[in-house]
C-alpha cells in the first residue's frame, strides 16, 4: 500500500518543497539576476538615523525560478546534464524529466527529495523541465511524465528508464541493485 505524502498540507515533513512561507526573504546565495540588491548594506527600515543610501530595492527580489536553491534536487539545463553524463562520476545519476503542470511529477519530486536525503552523496539526483528543454526531452524520447533515467557510473551498463509515478521502494531497488 503506497502512502501518499501530501506535500500540499501543512503536515508534510520539512522541507516543504513548494511552500514559500517557510522561506520568506532569506537568501544564502547572492541573487545573480539582480546585482543591485545587496544584503550587506544596513536596511533603511531598521536604521533610520544612519545616513540614507540610495537604494532602489528594499526587499529581496523574488526568484524568477520555480525551484529555489534550498532544494536538494537541482534543476539543470540540458547542457549541464549532458556534461554530467559525459563526465567522470562514481555515483549513479538520476534525471527526472517533469513539467510544471503535471500532477504526478509533483508527487515524484517529493519522493526524489526524500531519496536525496537518504542517499546524500551516494547518488546524484537532478531534474529537467521539459517545457524549458524541449529539444533535449525530445532527443531523450521522453513521452509520459514524469520520466526517470537512472544512469550508472559504469559506462558499460545500460541506463534504466521509467515512466509515470513509481514507488520510492522501486527507486531504491534500482539504485541499489541495478547501478
Amino acid at each position: 500500500m503506497l502512502s501518499v505524502p501530501s506535500i500540499f498540507s501543512s503536515c508534510a515533513p520539512p522541507p516543504q518543497p513548494l511552500c514559500l512561507s517557510n522561506f520568506p526573504f532569506k537568501t544564502h546565495h547572492p541573487n545573480l539576476l539582480f546585482p543591485t540588491t545587496t544584503t550587506s548594506r544596513p536596511s533603511l527600515l531598521s536604521a533610520p538615523i544612519s545616513p540614507p543610501l540610495p537604494r532602489k530595492l528594499l526587499c529581496r527580489t523574488p526568484s524568477a525560478k520555480y525551484v529555489r536553491e534550498d532544494y536538494l534536487v537541482k534543476k539543470l539545463s540540458a547542457k549541464e546534464v549532458q556534461e554530467l553524463v559525459k563526465g567522470e562520476r562514481n555515483v549513479p545519476l538520476i534525471i527526472d524529466f517533469y513539467a510544471t503542470w503535471c500532477g504526478p511529477c509533483i508527487l515524484m519530486a517529493q519522493e526524489l527529495e526524500m531519496l536525496a536525503v537518504e542517499y546524500e552523496s551516494s547518488a546524484l539526483i537532478v531534474k529537467v523541465d521539459t517545457d524549458d528543454e524541449y529539444e533535449f526531452a525530445r532527443d531523450m524520447q521522453v513521452r509520459g511524465l514524469p520520466t526517470l533515467y537512472f544512469i550508472s557510473p559504469d559506462p558499460n551498463k545500460d541506463a534504466i528508464r521509467t515512466e509515470g509515478l513509481i514507488p520510492i521502494q522501486m527507486m531504491r531497488d534500482i539504485i541499489d541493485n541495478q547501478m
Partner: protein, 150 residues
C-alpha cells in the same frame, strides 16, 4: 510608503521636485514566485474544473486523495486550453503540440481514459486505485489554495 520617506530624507533639499509626483507602486503583499510561464486564465481554470467534476461523475471515478495533484492537473489542462485551444494532457511531452491537438488522441478526456479509465495524470482515479479519494468535486478555492505556492 517607507521607501518614499527614505528618499525624501536623503539630502532633504531639492529632492522634493524629484519625489513630489512619483509614488512607488504599492507592492502586493502576496508572497508569490514569479513563474516563467503565465498562469492559466481564471475562466479556463473554472471551465476545466467543471469539466473534471462532470466527467468524474459520469465515469464513476474519483479525485486523488491529495487535492494538490488534482489542482495542478486542472491548471495544466486550463493552460493548454488557453495556449492551444484544447485541453491537451499536461502529463506528456509532445514533439508538436498543435499537431497533437489536431490528432485528438491526448485531448482530455484522452483515449486511454475513455476506453480503459486509465488516467496517468491521476486526475480521474478508479475506486480501486490506492491514491483514489472519495470526492468527485473540487472547489475553485481548493485549487487556488493548493497551487498558491507554485
Amino acid at each position: 510608503m517607507r521607501a518614499l520617506q527614505a528618499s525624501t530624507s536623503y539630502g532633504g533639499v531639492g529632492v522634493s521636485s524629484v519625489v513630489a509626483t512619483p509614488r512607488l507602486r504599492p507592492r502586493p503583499r502576496r508572497r508569490r514566485v514569479i513563474l516563467a510561464q503565465v498562469e492559466p486564465s481564471e475562466k479556463s481554470v473554472e471551465m476545466m474544473r467543471k469539466f473534471s467534476e462532470q466527467y468524474a461523475r459520469k465515469s464513476g471515478t474519483y479525485f486523488c486523495v491529495d487535492k494538490g495533484v488534482t489542482s495542478v492537473v486542472i491548471k495544466g489542462l486550463a493552460d493548454h486550453k488557453d495556449t492551444l485551444g484544447a485541453p491537451l494532457c499536461p502529463c506528456r511531452h509532445y514533439d508538436d503540440k498543435p499537431a497533437e491537438v489536431g490528432q485528438g488522441f491526448w485531448n482530455c478526456p484522452c483515449v486511454p481514459m475513455r476506453e480503459r479509465k486509465e488516467c496517468h495524470c491521476m486526475l480521474f482515479l478508479t475506486p480501486d486505485n490506492d491514491f483514489s479519494g472519495k470526492d468527485q468535486t473540487i472547489s475553485l478555492e481548493d485549487i487556488r489554495e493548493t497551487t498558491s505556492n507554485m
